[in-house]
């Protein structure tokens, strides 16, 4: 099978090698067409966003207003901070020029004169790798003022790397824009959508690193070729990051729709010690986990995973064997979301901390059965009721771990102790209730 993003070419990250292998040809091709034709090509290819929401990329581009006197921007989301996700990193390291070329095409398609690649601050070495590639591309005239000479046409754009400073929520597209503006990374309320007004109040498109890196190949080989790879509803190859209890963890580029079991056993070498799988999170830590007995026949694409009761997310597959303590796994996950909650809206700000404290108590062996109901209740109230998706990301693991591994959680808690009656008497609503009633 042919790989689009991480082909087996040695030193592809070097600009010469990239050019020798047909690099920076797609952009020349693209610039010979109109921006609308480029958008159309991408639209028809069926390329979907690889950042989690799997939105149609071409369609997103077409939302950008045509008649505006404001500058337009492209933001490339490389903030991948979701535990279990580490795919964009591979592109920065092994194929940065595909990303850069993709950006120049996307900028042309939406007529943006500037693109910001947002990379999380923790990615020190990968920032340097992309910066090197970008410097080379500038030096060769593939980016910046010299583009018309090098690439033909009259279009030129600039690409800047914006380094994060440690905030998961900045992976949310509106937070990301706030962060680029030098502000606190608070998500914005939608609508308005970024294409209406995003960065500095100007029309903005935000795409994931992996999404954009597909674009040169789509232009080179045409939409039809691309649309035939993998699952038709979610075509192309995906980068699957497999981690946890597998023999060969790593990033695998495979056509969408590959069987989850194949990914784990055929590519990632199965589970060490041939242990049974207790749990797999198929799309990064926020996605609903699947039980070991739910994996058979599950295909890795947006629609199939949805049908299986989970979601593709960022394609980060985390495998946990039969010996894993899921209470503590969930507590870990909850810790992450509590720590990364931005603090803007109530459910996420207060709910994540409460869930974490409750899970820690259960993990310490001090939990009671009512704690499980409490967790479910808090998660239910968070889900769907926050400004951005971080609330859902925090609520789903709690909701689905407890739902799908109820037995294990039941075992971890003690039976309910009766609540001190005094509390209830002091409660304003219940003062009218006879004491006998309360004691029941």
């Amino acid at each position: 099978m042919e790989k689009i993003l991480l082909p087996d070419i040695k030193n592809l990250h070097q600009i010469d090698v990239y050019i020798q292998n047909g690099g920076y040809e797609a952009v020349k091709k693209a610039y010979k067409r109109t921006p609308d034709e480029v958008i159309d090509e991408v639209k028809r290819s069926g390329l979907r966003g690889r950042g989690g929401a799997a939105f149609l990329t071409g369609l997103k581009w077409s939302f950008m207003p045509k008649n505006t006197d404001k500058p337009k921007y492209l933001c490339v989301n490389g903030d991948e901070s979701e535990p279990g996700s580490f795919k964009d990193r591979q592109i920065f390291e092994f194929n940065p020029h595909a990303l850069i070329e993709g950006i120049t095409i996307a900028c042309y398609a939406i007529q943006a004169k500037a693109a910001y690649v947002y990379i999380r601050g923790e990615y020190h070495n990968w920032i340097q790798m992309l910066q090197k590639a970008l410097d080379d591309a500038y030096a060769r005239g593939f980016v910046g003022e010299k583009m018309p000479e090098t690439l033909g046409g009259s279009f030129s754009c600039n690409i800047y790397i914006h380094k994060g400073a440690g905030a998961y929520v900045c992976g949310e597209e509106s937070s990301l824009m706030n962060s680029i503006e030098g502000k606190r990374g608070y998500p914005r309320v939608k609508p308005p959508f970024p294409a209406q007004f995003g960065l500095w109040g100007c029309p903005t498109t935000i795409n994931n690193v992996e999404t954009i890196s597909n674009v040169p190949t789509i232009i080179n080989k045409g939409w039809e070729w691309f649309s035939k790879i993998g699952e038709p509803r979610h075509p192309g190859t995906l980068l699957f990051g497999v981690s946890g209890h597998v023999n060969k963890p790593g990033v695998y580029e495979l056509p969408s729709g590959v069987l989850l079991t194949d990914l784990i056993y055929k590519y990632a070498g199965g589970v060490p010690g041939n242990k049974k799988i207790k749990c797999v999170i198929p799309g990064g830590s926020s996605m609903p986990p699947l039980r070991g007995d739910q994996l058979e026949g599950v295909k890795m694409d947006a629609e199939s995973l949805k049908a299986a009761g989970s979601a593709i997310g960022t394609g980060g597959v985390m495998v946990m064997d039969e010996d894993t303590d899921l209470v503590r796994v969930l507590a870990r996950i909850a810790k992450f979301y509590k720590h990364e909650s931005c603090g803007q809206c109530t459910p996420c700000r207060e709910g994540t901390g409460w869930m974490l404290k409750t899970l820690n108590r259960i993990a310490r062996g001090e939990g009671t059965s009512s704690d499980l109901d409490l967790l479910t209740d808090v998660a239910k109230n968070i889900e769907g009721n926050t400004i951005c998706a971080l609330g859902d990301a925090a609520a789903w693991p709690v909701k689905f771990f407890i739902q799908r591994f109820r037995e294990e959680f039941e075992k971890a808690v003690k039976p309910e102790v009766s609540i001190p009656v005094a509390n209830k008497i002091h409660s304003m609503r219940n003062t009218a209730v006879p004491l006998a009633e309360i004691k029941k």
Partner: protein, 907 residues
């Protein structure tokens, strides 16, 4: 209502304003829906998630989905439910979250009993704590003398930071930290710099920001006695609620008036009230012992007898009125001494200027806008006024008007204007056009284009703009390039304006500035455009004085008049003459009288010179009427009965008149008798008697209580004096009672003593008093506009253009520097305000200082009016060459005339 829609709420169909959001609409329908982060003056951000309601797709949708009401635009045919079980459960859950870290310290919290968080908690029914972990705690900050900080109570609604930064334009306050440890405060401890910080107290839904001045003499909301009042600390006339217990004024809060101050007050208005409790208060009549020259206290009867004695052998009595006294008090003094002997206790110069402003408004075509109108103006020109320091709430209003134009850009995106965050993202830092021409930098400079110049040059700029609209306003010759460029730009902006506004005032003591402002407005109107014209005036009732049928002669005229025709008795009404004229002149003036009688409430240099002092009531112990700069007559009522020794000045004066045998004044018994007599004598005040209901007004046979019905301790309050509960004082002047007995429903809008509604104990109960949220009060916003423009008449244009200012070698031209904290006579006696009052100084431009070899803080000798003063220098960047800034009214600061020339010597 602009655009209406039909919506169904819990099965009932309503016709509502389609431009509002669902939360506002529900609240306007007087439905109870809890909320925190939304504020009617600040719009929606959807942060707290408290106002969730169920929204159904159509009639067949029985499941529905939760939406935040504050973020939902009204759509015709919308079906929602507030009572839906899931929605209720969710709202209860939000409170449960907010309460996880809340300290539940209501018994020791100053907000307790008037806390929006308490109210909302009870409203949602959250009553049982499932959170069993430690709470997070914070360190608090010192924020200055006005605001107490208690972060542990915070529920992170973000209202404070949105108010302080986005609404009031403050920069030294923000949100820090992340996730559930976000912190609201300053970068480091220190006095909040914004002049409107006190509103944090009312904006905060719980006890994070509380009134520190109240805290020093704390009393629960339900234990305070309230009255509708008017702020006396500038001419804007913000509506306030003043509160008392045990004869001590406890605090001042904003009294909502949709046309005037809305929800807010400035810090001088909110915290200046403590002058009422000052040790300098005159609480009993005083007689000066002829031998010892010391004051002796008298009872009120004895005082009247003494005054009668003084007056009995008087041949001619001179009366000096005051712009900080009510219309009624001035009118009574006028009636006593008669027109030819009555002087408005203001400098002749100021009177000319104020009178000119009044004449322009009275005879011209330009309308004088209310504060609310100012907020809606989209292009504003300010000539000569440092509004933050002379009329602070106008400055706050301008911070809203600069958003008028940018906000329009949201319309094509179909983003409703109440969607605050989105609108701010779109408009970024865009500001609508506002131009400010003043000698000194002002706080509003950051939102405006500025012009630094002396008064004459400011006027010239104004005349240039006026001339660009009409040739009838004369051409300005010899304009500088800067003036040409700027006036061109201003004209352009005015041409595009939908609702332009010109603001000017008497601060620079320049007629030309006022005339230029009038010419712009008149020129625009004659060229077929609209234009409003706002004038500030120095004091709370200056406009009222200008409107009175008096000789409009000032202090200097009184000095002069006395030379020709001696008099033996002087009655000074609530006025410190030493603030109006030079010390020597006042000394010599006072020395010419055999008897000097002062009516006032604070000891001052004038009262100390008096032979007899009558203890007048301050605004807190008086009823009366003021006319604000807009020309709006507004009534204030006494908060509490201060006993027989403290009376309204008009009542003292009436008693004096009766005592002197002027029996015809015996029919003036209660406030409305005085007001009626006034409007009969001066038709310009026609109708002011009706701005509040008459004293006989009753609802269901009852008076309106000044006290909440949970007022406690009444039977024991005076038990230290007598175990018998005294008969409550009676209020013969108003339909308000001094107790908690009375009608429990909503009173007429002009006599609301406090805002309260069942389940709504905080100031947010205002919702229940408004027809529509953020709009007018039920029954209309209080006050009566007395000045309306004359349309159809061709306005007169002013034709005298001043010469350009030219600096003199070795002499400096005095421009005034006003301080919100310090320049006003009364508030400076409030300890908090006093703490922030600057020490005397003079301000020199950095350029001049350079040539003089002067550095900051260095003492310099200033020669003015034949005297030499030694004062520290402050350097100022923007001040034009040749001007010197003299702070006005600061304690210890000599009065140096604006517009005079002074000399400097290095100390």
């Amino acid at each position: 209502m602009a655009k209406t829609a039909k919506i169904t709420v819990d099965g009932k169909t309503y016709e509502v304003d389609a431009t509002k959001n669902l939360l506002e609409v529900c609240l306007s329908l007087k439905l109870d829906l809890p909320y925190f982060c939304w504020h009617p003056a600040m719009g929606s951000v959807g942060a707290c998630r408290q106002c969730a309601v169920k929204k159904f797709r159509d009639e067949n949708d029985k499941v529905g989905k939760l939406f935040m009401a504050c973020m939902e635009p009204i759509v015709d045919g919308m079906i929602i439910s507030i009572q839906d079980a899931e929605a209720k459960e969710f709202r209860k859950g939000v409170i449960e979250w907010l309460m996880t870290n809340h300290p539940h310290d209501c018994p020791v919290c100053d907000e307790g009993g008037e806390c929006h968080l308490q109210d909302m908690t009870v409203m949602t029914g959250h009553d049982y704590r499932r959170y069993r972990f430690k709470k997070r705690t914070y360190k608090n900050q010192y924020l200055g003398p006005f605001i107490n900080h208690e972060m542990n109570r915070c529920i992170q609604c973000y209202r404070c930071v949105r108010y302080y930064r986005d609404y009031a334009g403050g920069k030294d306050f923000d949100v820090f930290g992340v996730h559930n440890t976000v912190y609201f405060g300053r970068h480091e401890d220190g006095v909040l710099e914004n002049e409107f910080s006190g509103n944090l107290v009312e904006v905060c839904p719980t006890g994070v920001f509380t009134d520190k001045t109240l805290g020093k003499h704390y009393t629960r909301k339900w234990d305070q006695t309230y009255a509708p009042s008017i702020c006396v600390h500038c001419s804007v006339g913000c509506n306030t609620i003043a509160a008392e217990r045990y004869g001590l004024l406890r605090r001042v809060q904003s009294r909502y008036n949709g046309e005037v101050n809305g929800y807010f007050l400035c810090d001088r208005g909110r915290f200046g009230y403590e002058f009422v409790n000052s040790p300098k208060r005159i609480r009993k009549p005083l007689r000066k012992n002829k031998e010892t020259r010391q004051f002796e206290e008298l009872g009120s009867e004895d005082a009247l007898k003494y005054i009668r004695k003084l007056l009995s052998d008087s041949k001619r009595i001179i009366g000096i009125g005051s712009a900080r006294a009510s219309l009624e008090s001035n009118f009574t003094l006028l009636s006593f001494v008669e027109k030819q002997n009555f002087y408005w206790g203001e400098s002749d110069r100021n009177i000319q200027l104020i009178q000119k402003q009044y004449d322009i408004l009275r005879n011209g075509p330009a309308r004088t806008p209310s504060l609310r109108d100012i907020e809606k103006c989209d292009v504003v020109i300010v000539l000569g006024e440092d509004l933050t320091n002379t009329a602070p709430m106008i400055a706050l209003a301008l911070r809203q008007s600069v958003r008028q134009e940018p906000v329009q850009s949201a319309t094509p995106y179909r983003i409703p204007h109440w969607q605050d965050q989105a609108v701010r993202e779109l408009t970024q830092d865009e500001k609508g056009p506002i131009f400010i021409a003043t000698p000194l930098a002002t706080r509003l400079d950051e939102i405006s284009e500025t012009y630094r110049a002396a008064a004459d040059d400011i006027a010239r700029l104004g005349f240039m703009v006026a001339n660009s609209f009409s040739d009838r306003s004369p051409l300005v010759s010899g304009a500088t390039d800067e003036q040409k460029k700027l006036s061109g730009k201003i004209s352009e902006a005015l041409k595009k304006a939908k609702r332009p506004l010109i603001i000017a005032g008497p601060s620079l003591q320049s007629e030309a500035v006022i005339e230029a402002a009038a010419n712009i407005a008149n020129a625009m109107i004659t060229s077929g455009k609209t234009c409003e014209l706002c004038f500030t005036v120095p004091e709370v009732n200056s406009m009222g004085m200008a409107m009175m049928d008096i000789t409009h002669q000032g202090i200097e005229s009184a000095f002069e008049a006395l030379k020709n025709k001696p008099a033996d008795t002087l009655i000074i009404l609530e006025n410190d003459l030493y603030r109006r004229a030079e010390e020597q002149a006042v000394d010599s003036f006072l020395g010419k009288f055999k008897n000097v009688i002062v009516l006032d409430y604070l000891e001052n240099s004038t009262s100390l010179k008096a032979d007899a002092v009558l203890s007048s009531g301050s605004f807190a112990e008086s009823d009366g009427t003021f006319v604000n700069n807009e020309g709006r007559a507004q009534r204030f009522y006494q908060v509490y009965d201060a006993g027989e020794n403290i009376k309204e000045s008009w009542r003292w004066l009436r008693d004096i008149m009766l005592n002197s045998g002027l029996h015809e004044f015996g029919k003036w018994k209660i406030l409305s008798d005085f007001t009626n007599a006034l409007s009969k004598a001066m038709p310009v005040f026609d109708g002011i008697n009706n701005i509040t209901p008459p004293p006989g007004f009753r609802i269901a046979g009852e008076k309106i209580p000044r006290e909440p019905f949970r007022y406690s301790g009444r039977t024991a309050m005076f038990a230290n004096k007598s175990v018998h509960e005294p008969k409550p004082p009676e209020d013969i002047d108003s339909p308000l009672s001094f107790t908690m007995e009375g009608y429990r429903g909503k009173p007429p809008s002009s006599i609301i003593p406090f805002f309260w509604s069942p389940g709504w104990n905080s100031q947010q109960a205002i919702n229940k008093y408004q027809i529509e949220i953020g709009g007018a009060l039920h029954g209309g916003d209080p006050g009566k506009r007395l000045i309306e423009p004359k349309s159809g008449k061709t306005p007169a244009f002013f034709t005298k253009i001043p010469q350009a200012f030219s600096p003199r070698n070795g002499d400096w031209f005095v421009v005034p520097v006003y301080h919100i904290f310090g320049s006003e006579e009364l508030s400076v006696n409030a300890p908090g305000i006093n703490e922030l009052t600057p020490k005397p100084y003079v301000m020199i431009s950095s350029e001049d200082a350079g040539s003089l070899g002067l550095t900051s803080e260095k003492q310099i000798e200033l020669e003015a009016q034949g005297k030499t003063y030694s004062l520290p220098a402050k350097l100022n960047l923007g001040l034009p060459k040749g001007l010197i800034g003299i702070p006005k009214g600061l304690p210890g600061m000599p009065e140096i005339k604006t517009g005079s020339w002074v000399r400097l010597k290095m100390g």
